[in-house]
Symmetry: C2
Amino acid sequence: MAKEKKLVEAITSMDVDFAQWYTDVVKKAELVDYTSVKGCMVIKPAGYAIWENIQHELDRRFKETGVENVYLPMFIPESLLQKEKDHVEGFAPEVAWVTHGGLEPLQERLCVRPTSETLFCDFYANEVQSYRDLPKVYNQWCSVVRWEKTTRPFLRSREFLWQEGHTAHATAEEAEERTIQMLHVYAKFCEEVLAIPVIKGQKTDKEKFAGAEATYTIESLMHDGKALQSGTSHNFGDGFAKAFGIQFTDKDNTLKYVHQTSWGMTTRMIGAIIMVHGDDSGLVLPPRIAPTQVMVIPIAQHKSGVLEKAQEIREKLSGAFRVKLDDSDKSPGWKFSEQEMKGIPVRIELGPKDIEANQAVLVRRDTREKLTVSLDELEEKLGQVLTAMQTEMLERARAHRDAHTYDAQNYEEFVDIVNNKPGFVRGMWCGDQACEDKIKEETSATSRCMPFQQERIAETCVCCGRPAKSLVYWGKAY
Amino acid sequence: MAKEKKLVEAITSMDVDFAQWYTDVVKKAELVDYTSVKGCMVIKPAGYAIWENIQHELDRRFKETGVENVYLPMFIPESLLQKEKDHVEGFAPEVAWVTHGGLEPLQERLCVRPTSETLFCDFYANEVQSYRDLPKVYNQWCSVVRWEKTTRPFLRSREFLWQEGHTAHATAEEAEERTIQMLHVYAKFCEEVLAIPVIKGQKTDKEKFAGAEATYTIESLMHDGKALQSGTSHNFGDGFAKAFGIQFTDKDNTLKYVHQTSWGMTTRMIGAIIMVHGDDSGLVLPPRIAPTQVMVIPIAQHKSGVLEKAQEIREKLSGAFRVKLDDSDKSPGWKFSEQEMKGIPVRIELGPKDIEANQAVLVRRDTREKLTVSLDELEEKLGQVLTAMQTEMLERARAHRDAHTYDAQNYEEFVDIVNNKPGFVRGMWCGDQACEDKIKEETSATSRCMPFQQERIAETCVCCGRPAKSLVYWGKAY
């Protein structure tokens, strides 16, 4: 029992220190490791396998909407980055610069892509001549670099993995439609696969992407009541097209600028999974994203027939589930702790007495609910348990978020909530950036989004008291 | 007909100018485009889809051997790169250096990974303490950068995509076993999936990887008789482990160094597919790697019922094949030329008379063989045609390679063959690097490998006439 204790004691309780709990979980669940490269991480097999599942599932959904994958260079010449004024202002302060190739200084320095709008524009300027060449609906899976000062695994690191979609369209309407379509793809993916409920909305001008006309976002709430921007979709209008000269001859034989969008989701979603679903025993993975869904753990495996039966069960289940068998020489208790730490959704306990009674014990990771099941019904019951777990994890996360979403009528209430009740604060806004600036400075909360589902919970701005224009979700954010 | 002509005329004949033919094909088959970033390319949807299939198939084969995927940073601190003497000498002259992060100069400059041995060593030095932590059998899919002076799409570019496997083992035997195992994985993949026959062998010391004890390679022969190194697998012994201090406590309670391997395959294989299988009409893709295996092309599609029937066929076949329908407003002849240019293995021609006769015409891309098939048997016959095409493409490539492999007994013969008969030259070698140097200087042929299947085709070195040690494949290479 000493050993089991040690593994669990290795992580700080989330109520004591959420940040430390997070750091402990990413390390003890073997998701990442630190490296000699400051601000960059190693994504270890258990972490990368989650990313592979995210990629697989998102990529499939992208392709269903007509997305094609491409790969563009990781370097951007400085002159190219500077072509769109707002964009370069937003990114230049945080890019890494390559100044030497081999033993020689470069004639023009290159930045390592922080995002690839400029490269896609350069590409589209060559590719697009006629309306027949449109739309372009391209995406790439790659890593990007932003020279952050403070970093945290998955949430903010100098290099991270993501996908970035970049599209070009003949009309403004089509671009807007694609922008919204991809936001819905992200939202459905988060809810259906990651069991993370999201608020869909639009960013204020202050918070929108550098160079965008409009940025749409999905915002989720972590267990500690902080918000996480979980995916964004930008409509660029024809701003980039004008800066880069991306023109096409339309059906009416006139020359027009294309309308563009971009949209991205990153490895930070692994951080979201941890912070939405995890508990004091470690990670809890939604079944649909879990690299291993089921761990078979034999009890008294030295006894005759136990390992053989466990192997047989693993074999039988592996057609329908992602299942592993822990036949290491560790104690069962230690194996339970490891399976819990790694967030594997269900374990199957199987000992000599179970085998004698033709049964096994299923234990759900999230609720720890135990279910004794006949071996004849194992596959069926396991499917039910995993489905129920996926559904209930989403419901629980939604209930937690709703219980931590507060309405503020005026500034006094607003400040009180931000200071004392971690979560989203809903408050009306006049539309003036001065109010956003004041709120950020005085409370460190930021506007997360103007939700698509607008309500008028008050007539006046929660900050200045002038007539309100929009409902805004505010919160402290990662 | 003017249009059809134009598309075919757009590419140079391979017999006239093979290099220009290659450049034309990569461009006209829409595989890549050039960019504003010198020496880097855009991989377009048709090219990237081939890479996705390569990834999918290789990754599956890796995982069957116990490989786990990870992701390490793209940057290597200069001090880390310098830890292994041979390695830094091999790579330092061709790396890109990051010297500034944001607005500030870095304390230590970082190179963009040209390969990640040093990062994996740094990682393993932290991760490996006990024999229980071994083996580590990790791989990553990523891009790497080498500051090449002359570049060609897929074959040699400043940034390219690849996978790099890096393993650590308790014993020298296990490391050697893994090195050879992965070479066999590559060889089987090339032959079974890409229909490219390979010679398996070992590199000479002159040609081995910087820092390796032994480098194994698969070498393939392009249509123009030049060789292409198609995949390599390196055994590092404990050289890196000593430089990086990667030690573990073994079962006998003594401290030992690990033994390491690495192995990689790159986007250059897309270049190999083009140069092994392509013809004067463009690309020819082996069915197993082709993103689209079948293109349905309706004839007289304006006539009633034609498009509907074509759609029905596409729908029906899409369960078993990767199939598309070209219902654009181009002429059938133009569509044929495009399908041929893009190397789609089979087209199905379907016109009103075919429909009336309940048949369609299958045309194989490689042989242009036409087969009139009853619609009732379409799926079955299509499967047979694709299988036959895959098999015959490999056989044809093997026959071409064998017909372009020559034995040289002495230096006169050797020089004559290299100068007049493009292909592999087999010649015995004394083992002295001076002979390799002389051959390279005087003929520009290099030693490709010492094949696993050794034969004694002569008793003396083809260069110096001293007693021979090994049979070597020589050739001009990409």
